[in-house]
């Protein structure tokens, strides 16, 4: 048994979720260390994360139940089921963002500085998600003959999950070595730009992409627009700073 098979056996679903939880814990620790640099109150940061995570879990389940109302109407107790499949991750993410934003405004947390402090958490979480993809064999690559191809799902494929892990590790390292930047939001925007650029690149080698408009990959187009928006956001922040000076 090679190292990859061993890893996939140890963290086979649903145990792959352990990797995400571990990454979240590591990310939280890193973010707490960064909080003082960005002059964000440590307790407020922990609270906003708690609100966000609760929003994600509850929102993801409730939205999934609403999307499949007919199934849940016949067995309402399923809303409390331990099945992780009964979950809308994008809906959960939206609810998490909205609830964290509302809570942040309520306790007057500085928006961009808080995002900067939370950036190591997001970056570490991305590593955990990539590791969970590798363990579960999801987010797999397209068929290839490159010497480093891995045998997966009946073909030799690009190890896109490993590319994803390497990219997210590099992004976290880059975030951590950043010197303090006076522009609030710099670290967060850097993280978003690098993450969308890496997604844009790696998605092109994936074998499970959602295709639109005659073969274009939906995730790449989304990543491109996010990258574009990040550049606009960055320019806006620089101009705002100049105006203030």
């Amino acid at each position: 048994m090679n190292g990859l098979s061993f890893f996939q056996n140890v963290f086979a679903p649903p145990r792959d979720l352990i990797l995400i939880v571990l990454a979240a814990w590591l990310g939280l620790t890193l973010s707490e260390r960064r909080a003082t640099r960005h002059r964000v109150n440590l307790d407020s940061l922990s609270n906003i994360l708690l609100v966000g995570v609760s929003g994600f879990i509850l929102g993801g389940r409730i939205l999934y139940a609403l999307e499949n109302l007919a199934s849940f109407a016949q067995s309402p107790s399923s809303i409390f089921s331990i099945n992780t499949s009964l979950f809308d991750p994008w809906g959960g993410l939206a609810i998490a963002a909205l609830s964290a934003l509302a809570y942040g405004q309520h306790i007057h947390l500085p928006f961009w500085k808080s995002l900067d402090a939370l950036t190591p958490f997001f970056a570490a979480l991305a590593i955990g998600i990539a590791c969970s993809h590798l363990a579960a064999g999801t987010a797999f690559g397209k068929e290839t003959n490159v010497p480093w191809a891995i045998d997966q799902w009946g073909a030799l494929r690009h190890p896109t999950q490993i590319y994803e892990i390497i990219a997210s590790l590099l992004i976290l390292a880059l975030i951590l070595i950043q010197k303090p930047n006076p522009t609030a939001g710099y670290e967060f925007l850097l993280f978003v730009a690098l993450t969308s650029a890496s997604r844009l690149l790696i998605e092109g080698l994936r074998g499970d992409s959602t295709l639109i408009l005659g073969g274009l990959r939906a995730a790449q187009i989304t990543a491109w627009f996010i990258l574009f928006a990040t550049f606009i956001g960055w320019e806006y922040k620089i101009r705002q700073e100049h105006r203030e000076e």
């Binding site: 199934s71 089921s81 073969g215």
Partner: protein
């Protein structure tokens, strides 16, 4: 960094992104894996041929054109036992709409004498197949019990649920998808 240099870098990055989007586009739809058999969502369900208690041989291909739920289980596995009544309930409800449930007992890691009493205890009416040599378990890369594969009428796996017990809503949601 000078604004002109910074904006040039943005433009280069965005242009390179656009070029890559079009260069890596999958015009032949080859990225989808519906023609390769593998135990993963989006792939063709691997073919198996197993015996039932009464000596009949059942092949997965016999059910091509039908929505199939392949449930791998064992008598000693508590979540498998817990989900059996729900599985039987939804099978009864959906069988007239074209749903077939194949309960594949991982016999190679089960007590064969316990299977018949189990079937009787839970009033199971869907076919129970005996994976005596572990053929199906190997093909479906079984790592946890129970594991369920929801296979569409085209033979492609639409959802994989690892672990259990599956709730009624989860079963209904996935069955509704495959019987379409």
């Amino acid at each position: 960094m000078q604004p002109i240099l910074r904006r040039s870098l943005y433009a280069i990055a965005l242009l390179a992104g656009l070029v890559w989007i079009f260069a890596s586009a999958d015009k032949t739809n080859s990225a989808t894996a519906g023609h390769i058999p593998a135990p993963q969502k989006g792939f063709l369900a691997p073919e198996f041929k197993l015996d039932t208690f009464d000596g009949q041989t059942v092949a997965l291909t016999d059910y091509r054109g039908t929505a199939v739920l392949v449930n791998l289980w064992a008598t000693w596995c508590p979540p498998c036992r817990a989900e059996m009544p729900t599985l039987e309930k939804v099978y009864e409800e959906y069988k007239d709409q074209g749903l077939v449930v194949l309960g594949v007992d991982a016999t190679n890691q089960d007590n064969p004498d316990a299977i018949a009493p189990f079937e009787k205890q839970y009033h199971i009416t869907f076919p129970i197949l005996l994976d005596t040599n572990g053929e199906a378990s190997t093909l479906y890369e079984l790592r946890s019990l129970p594991t369920s594969f929801f296979v569409g009428r085209d033979g492609v796996i639409r959802e994989v649920v690892v672990g259990g017990p599956m709730s009624e809503a989860l079963l209904r949601t996935n069955i509704e998808e495959i019987i379409k």
